[in-house]
Symmetry: C2
Subunit: 288 residues, 2 copies
């Protein structure tokens, strides 16, 4: 059984699962595990790993429109090097500070492979789910897409300093809280825009008609020569941790005005199927 | 650098760390990572693993006197077998249900070795810390000691059914909430009674004069022939997840009357050093 299928079956037995985070008693709780071979390219610093791992959990809080309260992490490695542990914690604290949350520690574990498990806790009385989109509404994305695709290419080229900087993304918790007032459905784009649209469509029982151009990262030209390649990165790479949301057409201007990050309308909510410029968009993401 | 030293240094840079759980904004958050080679003996079922891993985090909530609200887990294995995933979740749900908490899901991860990271969240406006013990007070322990030592021996003998049952402990969250009114310092006994006393002593700047007999599990005779062996298991084995707490002498009777588990006075809080029947108790635990 592959991971998506196991996750799908899990969501049937754990009623509270199946969204970006679980909601219980006014609290939002989300947890993720990342490890060296699949999530951290060669050249990723411990500071960036701490930032990114904790940031990914904070992004899940953002995706529900929650106010982040605290984050914890378990840091598992074969042998503890204080410089590395300390840099990981510095990165974790930095990303928490950036969103007004608090890094409150965690645990250490001796582990064969570098493995980190992060958990974030937030508050939201009325969290935004994936399930509220209605045909006729507008689908939007915050920020730009393709940043992590650029970073990965830079890691491969050995340009690790810039790559690490790009990997230190800002979780969209402030945007999420603003969008909570307007969005009918929301999630983060961690599995790529295309996968996110399919997941929103599944949860809301709707489709999407997406129109180019998409808001792509300015630097994407550095790693993708053709327009097709650039679009591929923007649609399918993922790990950008932007918010994908739906809202009534009349709310878009007001929401944009209140946000400190760009909010780009990329299409409309439809009855079924996900299309890009009128053609079926493949349900394909980057498998992390 | 070994794990205790790294944890000690971590507690200097993460001000909120260093207790059984972190406290922020009325919430208690705790996270742990367990994995196959060190935490789950051969014969441990996935159900027991889910119970025990989530139970360990709930025990940290208990140790602060908190009300458990929710728990999550990440389940990492090389390949997903639905029967195993499902049994793990059943165990996690069962231990949460037993303490009135809710298992709200988590994440799956492909991982070389079975690894689980669990997080529990609770509430407590005035959590009990490790740091409030004062000389003259009484030190007590809930329940009995040595249960996990018995379980481990049974696993080694291949008596896995009984061993699994013994491994499914009840987190002392109800006792913790009652003791919150009376206890001046509290923690759980996961590293063994001896280590717990040293940690309480460090945090409270005090010592303890412990007197035998200790409340040992009835079944400990099955795995330890001599009184010395039985005492060794009770003092140093750990993983029993009982509560060790200090309280004023006049409160012991009242606290005992309100608890539905036994509360046994085992000695007094002193100015310094930890002794057993007048002799220095080694600061030695079971390294997990």
């Amino acid at each position: 059984m592959d991971e998506p299928e196991a996750l799908r079956r899990l969501s049937e037995v754990v009623p509270n699962a199946g969204d970006d985070a679980a909601v219980v008693d006014g609290l939002i709780v989300t947890t993720d595990m990342l490890h060296e071979t699949t999530d951290f390219p060669d050249g990723t610093t411990a500071y960036t790993a701490g930032w990114r791992a904790v940031g990914a959990s904070l992004s899940d809080i953002a995706a529900m429109g929650g106010v982040p309260v605290a984050a914890v992490a378990v840091y598992g490695v074969p042998a503890f090097e204080w410089d590395e542990v300390s840099a990981f914690v510095d990165g974790a604290q930095a990303v928490c500070a950036q969103v007004g949350s608090e890094y409150v520690g965690g645990d250490l574990d001796s582990h064969k492979e570098f493995t980190t498990a992060t958990t974030a806790v937030g508050r939201a009385d009325e969290p935004v789910r994936r399930s509220g989109a209605t045909p006729g509404e507008i689908v939007c994305v915050t920020g730009t897409l393709g940043r992590s695709a650029v970073a990965l290419e830079l890691f491969e080229r050995g340009e690790t300093e810039r790559a690490n900087q790009l990997f230190q993304f800002t979780p969209r918790t402030a945007a999420g809280q603003t969008l909570r007032t307007y969005a009918t459905a929301m999630m983060d784009s961690s599995d790529g825009l295309a996968r996110s649209l399919y997941q929103l469509g599944d949860a809301s029982d709707c489709g999407f008609a997406i129109e180019t151009p998409l808001p792509l990262d300015d630097r994407i030209g550095e790693v993708a020569d053709s327009p097709e390649q650039r679009l591929e990165h923007g649609l399918h790479f993922g790990e950008d941790f932007e918010l994908v949301c739906t809202l009534p057409e009349e709310a878009v201007t007001q929401a944009s005005a209140e946000l400190s990050v760009p909010l780009t309308p990329i299409g409309k909510v439809t009855e079924s199927s996900v299309t890009l410029d009128g053609e079926l968009l493949p349900d394909r993401g980057y498998s992390h």
